[in-house]
Symmetry: C2
Amino acid sequence: MSSEHDSQLLKGVLSLLLLHLISERESYGYELVQRLHQVGLTEILEGTVYPALARLEREGRVSARLVASNAGPARKYYRPTVAGRDALTAGTADWMSLAAVVGAQLARRLPAEPQEGA
Amino acid sequence: MSSEHDSQLLKGVLSLLLLHLISERESYGYELVQRLHQVGLTEILEGTVYPALARLEREGRVSARLVASNAGPARKYYRPTVAGRDALTAGTADWMSLAAVVGAQLARRLPAEPQEGA
DNA sequence: GCCAACTACTTGACATAGAATAGTAGTATA
DNA sequence: TATACTACTATTCTATGTCAAGTAGTTGGC
């Protein structure tokens, strides 16, 4: 349902999600795209994820290591650095507090509509 | 607390909030900045809100009328158009569903931490 | 009547980050 | 060696928030 013209809404959230996912389990770009699709973000493309990972690496929030694959080119596995975990914690708090405000405002428009996103 | 380096997190959300606020009550730019500050978004500047309103107007999502003020220049009062209300409804649904996913993911990082953002 | 202060809106240069698209390269299989 | 799938890289475009400055109307002190 919906989630077709998010575009801007994803800004800033994607890097947070990526940090979270690799913090749950070391992962590589291609797989991260699939994991994002699995949790419902089906419109996120490789061309969005790879640059985001490169940004995170350049900023020192994730570290990467190449691991040979038996089904294609080597995979670049990412895991958060200490700075990455800090950023994730801070970013999560940021997002939570903004979401609380936004949610409180926008929720008024959906008086008692059942949500199935949980 | 926090809400200091949101920057990107606000993308797309601001126009939604503006549509919501003027849909609650017709309002003008200067006042909208103050209303945003009141609900907790204290870092939003005029230079952010006015261009956002101009964009919404250019896109036909809000209409504006000038009303003379007794304490300064004329105020430009905004209210949503039909397209604006549609955009608000669609955008709210979009945000809610994204927030559900993001919240479900990120919430795991804060097992039982009390939130005071409500 | 002029100047300061406050209200309110406008504008333009800038940075960030996601979208779109294409391209490169490794492995396997036929 | 050609095809298909996996996986990463590179380039360009665009939307939108930030920053900073500026315009203009009203009021009040002097």
